[in-house]
């Protein structure tokens, strides 16, 4: 079920923004910072943390990605740069906060209500609802609002969008802002459910990427479906095989999809090099 909301994280930014993983983690840690260490009540800490996460994402775009795009760097360069940023930031978090698991959970861990034979805690219900709401909101926003339409235009064909008068830099900045904010929220939600460690982001991101590729890049319902399927497959797997193989299952699925159907279920065709 958690799989559903991993899809919320991923935005169409045209290349693999590995550092997104760290934004996710930072969302959780910022909250920790403000809530536990500074003593803010959790309801204030959360929005601040989300805002900071968004800022972090924008910072990465402005500071690193944009200059690279100016130089017409290939997607691989961007990917490597984002890997680098992830490493730096994740280790910073490790250094500052320590590698052990931190918690922002409050209250007693309750048994959870049995639904369909599985046990779902109240927090998980919150997560599911929040994700559904957010996904729907984002999807609507992309469809209806001006910025949303601009984003889709840029994602489709950046040059054309530029010519039509859309300032693609600003659009991309917004994409990062929104995407990062969402990631921050996701991080907080997960932390509320299962606590946080500095490396939680990478795992989450990979699941998100798998979901995106399975469901189809560039299509929100596709991603949601992908995430759902992924979650299901993993949990089904847990029944039959031991839980440690979860990761492997996810990635084998990913591998197979990349091999045979890189556009996922509902995505656009992946272009090969033109002759």
């Amino acid at each position: 079920m958690i799989g559903l909301f991993f899809g919320v994280i991923y935005k169409t930014t045209r290349f693999f923004h590995f550092a997104h993983a760290v934004v996710f983690t930072s969302g959780a840690y910022f909250t920790y910072l403000f809530h536990k260490l500074f003593g803010f009540p959790i309801f204030i800490a959360i929005p601040i943390a989300v805002a900071l996460a968004a800022l972090l994402g924008c910072g990465m775009e402005a500071g690193v990605y944009r200059p690279l795009r100016r130089r017409e760097a290939s997607p691989m360069v961007l990917l490597l740069a984002s890997l680098g940023m992830y490493i730096v930031l994740q280790n910073t978090i490790s250094m500052v906060f320590g590698d052990d698991t931190k918690s922002i959970r409050s209250g007693v861990v309750r048994e959870g209500l049995p639904i369909f034979g599985a046990r779902i805690t109240p927090i998980q219900i919150v997560i599911i609802c929040t994700s559904i709401v957010l996904v729907v909101l984002v999807a609507l926003w992309l469809k209806k609002s001006r910025m949303g339409k601009a984003m889709r235009a840029v994602a489709n064909d950046a040059e054309l969008a530029q010519i039509s008068g859309i300032d693609s830099d600003r659009v991309i900045l917004w994409t990062f802002g929104v995407g990062s904010a969402l990631a921050g929220v996701a991080g907080i939600l997960v932390a509320l459910d299962v606590d946080m460690t500095p490396t939680m982001g990478m795992n989450a991101l990979m699941m998100g990427v798998v979901a995106v590729i399975i469901g189809g890049v560039g299509s929100i319902p596709g991603v949601a479906m992908g995430a759902l399927l992924l979650g299901l497959a993993q949990h089904l797997g847990v029944w039959k095989i031991s839980s440690q193989w979860q990761d492997a299952i996810a990635f084998i699925i990913l591998f197979v999809f990349l091999l045979f159907r890189p556009q996922g279920f509902l995505g656009r065709k992946v272009k090969k090099v033109e002759v």
Partner: protein
């Protein structure tokens, strides 16, 4: 003194890893973050053979190389069908899968507990101390470097570079690009296994945590920072990136953060180099894609 030998041995092992990855990523332009998987497979195959079958070192070495090379072919084939950016994700997936296998197949690989007590290499004599081991490592490192150099300077190497720059053009000249790619994967993976065998017999204990995605990323970072497309770059990169963090120890950093600082260092270097000098110190390949833009 032993400490110095230790560092040099590590550098030697990493030279093997980086030059082999450079062949694939720097010369042929196939970026891969699965190299630690081949490294690990080499280590585990040799270790298991030594521990369970008590076969001699050289036999283990050869078989580890073959096993890894076959695995390399396995990954090579998807590279023919999957486009660049997505392929990197595929190599990531492969790496994680291999790690999962190493970590979870407890009966076979010892799982997270790893494999302790790997016997030291015996080539006529038992190689038990740092000095002789450094000799062994250096010999193998020099051998690998020489092999890479031969490849790179041959017509085969010329085709690799052409594939990197413009695959379509290369095909139109009558080169079977697919076969080249699969072959270089095989060589690259096989060589990484040599490093793995060295590592296993040196530390005499291996566990999956040495062969993670982060390790793969570390190796590719060295290749890039040292210079993709230039074998000496990989050597230089290995020297710099292995010894630099060690120097930090003398600055008096607490052990707990040393590992983190080390990673921040190379993560930071990666970003900086991408921004200002994608070719690394002395590399040739800047990861541009002129064929797509043309």
């Amino acid at each position: 003194m032993t400490y110095l030998l230790h560092i040099l041995i590590l550098i030697g092992i990493y030279i093997i890893l980086t030059t082999s990855l450079n062949l694939l990523a720097g010369y042929t332009g196939i970026l891969s973050i699965a190299h630690a998987a081949f490294y690990g497979v080499g280590a585990y195959v040799a270790a298991l053979m030594a521990l369970r079958l008590h076969t001699p070192f050289l036999v283990n070495l050869i078989l580890a190389v073959i096993a890894s090379a076959l695995l390399g072919v396995l990954v090579g084939f998807p590279s023919l069908r999957i486009k660049d950016d997505y392929f990197i994700i595929a190599t990531f997936a492969f790496q994680v899968i291999v790690f999962s296998v190493l970590n979870n197949w407890v009966r076979f690989t010892g799982g997270p507990m790893g494999l302790p007590g790997i016997p030291q290499p015996v080539i006529i004599l038992r190689i038990s101390s740092h000095g002789p081991f450094l000799l062994l490592t250096s010999a193998l490192a020099i051998l690998c470097f020489y092999l890479c150099r031969r490849i790179v300077r041959s017509p085969f190497g010329r085709v690799l570079k052409a594939i990197r720059e413009d695959e379509v053009f290369t095909q139109s000249l009558g080169k079977d690009v697919s076969s080249f790619k699969v072959k270089i994967f095989m060589v690259s993976a096989g060589m990484a296994a040599i490093a793995g065998v060295l590592y296993a017999t040196y530390i005499s204990y291996i566990d999956p945590t040495s062969f993670t995605v982060m390790e793969s990323i570390f190796i590719i970072s060295i290749v890039i920072i040292g210079g993709a497309g230039n074998l000496w770059g990989s050597v230089l990169g290995a020297f710099v990136l292995i010894s630099l963090p060690e120097l930090l120890r003398f600055v008096g950093l607490p052990n707990s953060v040393a590992a983190n600082i080390r990673q921040i260092l190379y993560g930071g270097l990666l970003v900086i180099f991408m921004l200002w000098r994608p070719r690394g110190f002395i590399g040739e390949f800047t990861f541009r894609n002129p064929s797509v833009k043309a």
